[in-house]
Every structure is written in C-alpha cells, then in structure tokens.
C-alpha cells in the first residue's frame, strides 16, 4: 500500500530532513511513527498525504508513484486518506457538522444522504451537542475529536494522524486510540505520529522510529 524506496527529503538549500528511508506498509497495518521533536515525523506524514514530494528516491501510495501523479490524481488519492492534523485545521466559518461533512461534500454526496451519518459520528465522538457550534467555541480536546471525526467520516483506506492525542486527557487519549483500532479492524490502514510513550506501551503496535532523519524500525514494547 505504501512503499518508500531510498527516500530523502530536504527543503530548498537546507539540510536533509529525511535520509534514505526504506519501508513498506501493507493494507490493514497499524503503525506508530515516533521520534524526538524535529526528527522529521511531520515531514514524513506530509509525504504520506502527498503534501511534500521526495527530493530523492521513490514514494508509492496505493501502488502509485507520487512523483508521477498529476494534481487531479493527487486529489483523487487524498479522498482515500483521512488526515488528523496536529493543529486540527478546522474551518472557523463552518459549524462542527459542516466541518465533519467536508470530505463527503468533496466526494459529491448530497446533504440529505450524509446528514444522519455525520450526526451519528458526532455523537460517537461525543460532540453531538456541538454539531451547530463553531470550532473557536470548542475546547482543544473537542476540536481534536472533531478533527478525528472529519478524518474518518468518509471511511478512508488510510488514516494518518499527527499527534492525535496531544491535546486530550489520558482517558480520552485511550478512547481515541481504541477508535483508531476499531477502524483498523474494519480494514483501514492507520499511521499515527506520536511521542506519547505511555500510549505506545499500552497499545502494542509496530512503530517506525525516526532519528536524525534516519528510520529505525522498532519492535514491540
């Protein structure tokens, strides 16, 4: 499903952020991406959702060489990917319901068709009473859950989450992780960037560890 072959990445005229990465993630896998701050986790995730293109090597997502893709192809591939950003990226001028419905709207679904599903999902992440509220009026944890709901609403083949438990209490963090596991059981490939050691200890999933731009494939805790 995802294949990195001798992949390096650097911003223009800057030092190399990712160095010679080689790994493969198959359909239905669940991975943690770990590493210290500045190790390149976010850069790696951005390459996974095709926001950045490798400066060297080959990245394949859904068996397609990202470097060869046109803008339209990237857009169509992204419809199969759910992304949870560290800074949530909820749109302040849209209600929580509308934010969550965004991927379905992009997929061309009609409001009448997705309304019930979105409300159910919001109730699932315990935001049912906030569906007509706007993101600035929600707490960090609530925004986090809304961001997760938006990422999973279209039932993506691949879920990428950048520090999805960073703004929530440990109890909620565990619940969110269980949500990801449930999605994974339904066939979604999940990749989570985190430096939450306790979470990694509790949930025994393989991890990819980044150190100084190099990838060290870790074992189980």
């Amino acid at each position: 499903m995802i294949r990195f072959e001798n992949v390096s990445f650097s911003y223009k005229d800057n030092e190399v952020i990712l160095k010679n990465l080689n790994f493969e993630i198959n359909k239905g896998d669940f991975y943690f991406v770990t590493g210290q701050s500045g190790a390149g986790k976010s850069t790696l995730l951005r390459m996974l959702f095709m926001s950045l293109v490798a400066t060297k090597g080959k990245v394949s997502i859904f068996e397609q060489d990202v470097a060869q893709l046109h803008k339209e192809d990237v857009a169509h591939l992204r419809r199969r990917i759910g992304i949870v950003f560290q800074d949530f990226r909820l749109l302040d001028n849209l209600s929580i319901f509308q934010n969550i419905a965004l991927p379905l709207r992009v997929l061309g679904q009609r409001a009448e068709d997705y309304q019930v599903d979105v409300i159910e999902l919001l109730e699932w992440v315990e935001l049912g009473k906030h569906l007509n509220n706007y993101p600035p009026f929600l707490s960090g944890g609530e925004q986090q859950r809304a961001a997760i709901a938006r990422a999973v609403v279209a039932q993506p083949d691949l879920l990428i989450a950048d520090e999805p438990t960073g703004n929530v209490d440990p109890e909620l963090a565990q619940r969110l992780l269980r949500l990801f596991i449930e999605l994974n059981k339904l066939g979604t490939t999940v990749i989570i960037a985190t430096h939450d050691i306790s979470l990694m200890r509790e949930f025994h999933v393989p991890r990819l560890t980044l150190q100084n731009g190099y990838l060290t494939e870790g074992g189980y805790f």
Binding site: V74, L94, V106, V116, V118, L121, W124
Partner: protein, 313 residues
C-alpha cells in the same frame, strides 16, 4: 469501549432520524463589508448597463420613426423673388407635381403653418410676421419606385422661378449619423462597464481566494480537485452577481415604464418619446443574466489561473 450503538456509522446499522442542522452551506464566502460593497457596486454597474441598453433601444426606435416620417416626404420650396408672383409660381409647381408619377398627396402649407414651424427657433415674436416667408408644398411619396426626384427637381428649376426640391436626404443622412453616434456611444459605455465588471471580479476573486487560503488548503487536503474549488468560487460569485444585477435592472425597467406611460413628451418637436416594447424590456432584463454569466466566467478563469500557479501540494 465503543458501543455498537456508537458504531453505527461504520457498520451501517439502522439510522436515526436527523436532528436540525444547517447541512447545506457555502464553502466560499466574503465577510460583511466587502460583500455588501461588492453587491452595491455590481448593482450600480448593472443599472448603468441596463440604462445604456434602454437608451440605445430608445434612440433606435426614435430614429426609425423619424427617418420613416421623412423618407416618404419631400418639400417644394418657392422663395419670394422680386417681380415674380409667388402665387403663380406655386400654381405652376402644383401642376408639375400633379403630373409627376409616384406622388400621393400634395399639400400647400399655409402661412400660419409656416410660422409655426419657425416658432421653435425664433419664439413668440412679431418678427415672423415681417419676414418674407417662402411657400412650402408638402409632398407625400406614394410609390418610391415611380418617383424620380432628379427629374422633378429639373422640371421645377426650369419652370418655377425660385423653386427647389428638398427630398430630406441631408436630414435622413444626418439623422442616421446622429443615431449611429448615439448607438456607438451607448455601446462604448456598455463595453466600458462590462470591462469594469471584469476588472472588479478579477480583483474580488483574487481577494476571496487569498482570504479563503485556509479553506482552499483544507479542501485540497480532503481531496478537492481544482475544478471543485473553482466551482465553489464561481457559484458564490454567480449567486451574488445574479441578485445584485437583478436588483440593478429593476429600477431601470421601472424608469422606462414610467417614461413610456406617464411622461408625455409627444408635443415636443425634438423629444419624441416612444414606449419600449415587451421585447425591448426583455433585452434590458437579459442584461442581468448576461452580466452574471460574465461574472461566472471571470471568477472561474481567475480562480483557475490562481490554482494553476499554486502547486496544490
């Protein structure tokens, strides 16, 4: 643990009835002040375009009526000549005219009518009574194919002293030129306004795209294609433009209806107001969707060029 009930959206279990939510929403929008200003601007430009179209149509109608009035008419003028009886010369002219093929009615304008014709230029004054006025014979041409103006002019010159034939050619030509000038002026105004609309929409689209940077970025990340984003921008401008231009066209139509029905200027020599037809009103009303279409195309092309420049990654 996630309960089965909470897991409905994944498992496709029975769906609950929907709560009230604002499920239909515009992704691209402009905040208050800028939106209102743009609306008013489009409304004013639409009013100007529709007024220009209306004036153009009116000028065409008036010109058509004027030219039609004079194209089938000719005037024989018999100027007073010392030692020559104007009455006799008039009789001779009438005789020639009655024998000329293609002529319908012949009417000698009396002194009173002659003086009335001069009143718009000279006003109510006694000087008119003292002026040596020519005799005028109004000729209505019944059959333009049979009527030979050149031959008639020759005959009158040879047989009637001080006479001349005016077929109103110069008037016709000047009226046509004047009408053309007004039409060109009206078209130029319309062109300039449309150009202004295009420029305003280009700037507005750029502003909207810049202001919606975060929205566009998120849309791209959830899989929106450029076409989807362009569609959102274009639909926003189309809606705004359609309402604004429609609101702009309504006062214009009202003005022309009022002028056509209540403002009677038919007495005036120069301003001969003719009410616009339903077809004319339709043309004026069509300026609203036309301007909206121009707005749609401009917004689409502008957003397309902006998105094309960005790498979209």
């Amino acid at each position: 643990m996630i309960t089965q009930d909470k897991n409905n959206f994944l498992t496709g279990a029975e769906k609950k009835p929907a709560m009230h939510v604002e499920s239909k929403f515009s992704l691209i929008s402009v905040s208050g002040m800028a939106r209102n200003s743009l609306f008013v601007l489009m409304m004013i430009l639409s009013l100007l375009v529709s007024m220009s179209i209306g004036v153009g149509l009116l000028v065409n109608k008036v010109m058509t009526v004027w030219v039609k009035d004079i194209v089938n008419e000719a005037t024989v003028e018999i100027r007073p000549v010392v030692g020559v009886s104007m009455e006799n010369q008039t009789k001779e002219a009438l005789k020639i005219l009655s024998q000329t093929p293609g002529i319908g009615t012949i009417k000698v304008l009396d002194d009173l009518k002659n003086k009335e014709l001069l009143k718009p230029w000279l006003g109510e004054t006694d000087i008119i009574d003292e002026l040596p006025l020519p005799n005028l014979i109004s000729v209505v041409i019944a059959d333009a194919n049979q009527f030979n103006a050149e031959h008639l002019s020759e005959q009158l010159t040879q047989n009637v002293i001080g006479s001349s034939l005016d077929t109103h050619d110069r008037w016709q030509s000047e009226l046509k030129n004047f009408g053309l000038l007004l039409n060109n002026a009206s078209s130029s105004v319309i062109f300039l306004i449309v150009l202004t609309v295009v420029i305003i929409i280009v700037f507005a689209t750029r502003a909207v795209m810049t202001g919606s940077q975060q929205i566009i970025e998120v849309l791209s990340l959830v899989g929106a294609t450029d076409n989807f984003i362009i569609h959102q921008v274009a639909v926003y401008f189309l809606r705004m433009s359609f309402f604004a231009t429609f609101v702009g066209v309504i006062p214009c139509v009202t003005i022309f209806i009022i002028l056509g029905n209540f403002y009677n200027l038919q007495q005036s020599l120069f301003i001969h107001f003719i009410p616009l037809s339903m077809g004319d009103y339709l043309i004026i009303l069509l300026s609203s969707p036309l301007l909206s279409l121009i707005t749609l195309c401009t917004a689409s092309l502008t957003s397309y060029s902006i998105l094309k420049k960005s790498n979209g990654m």
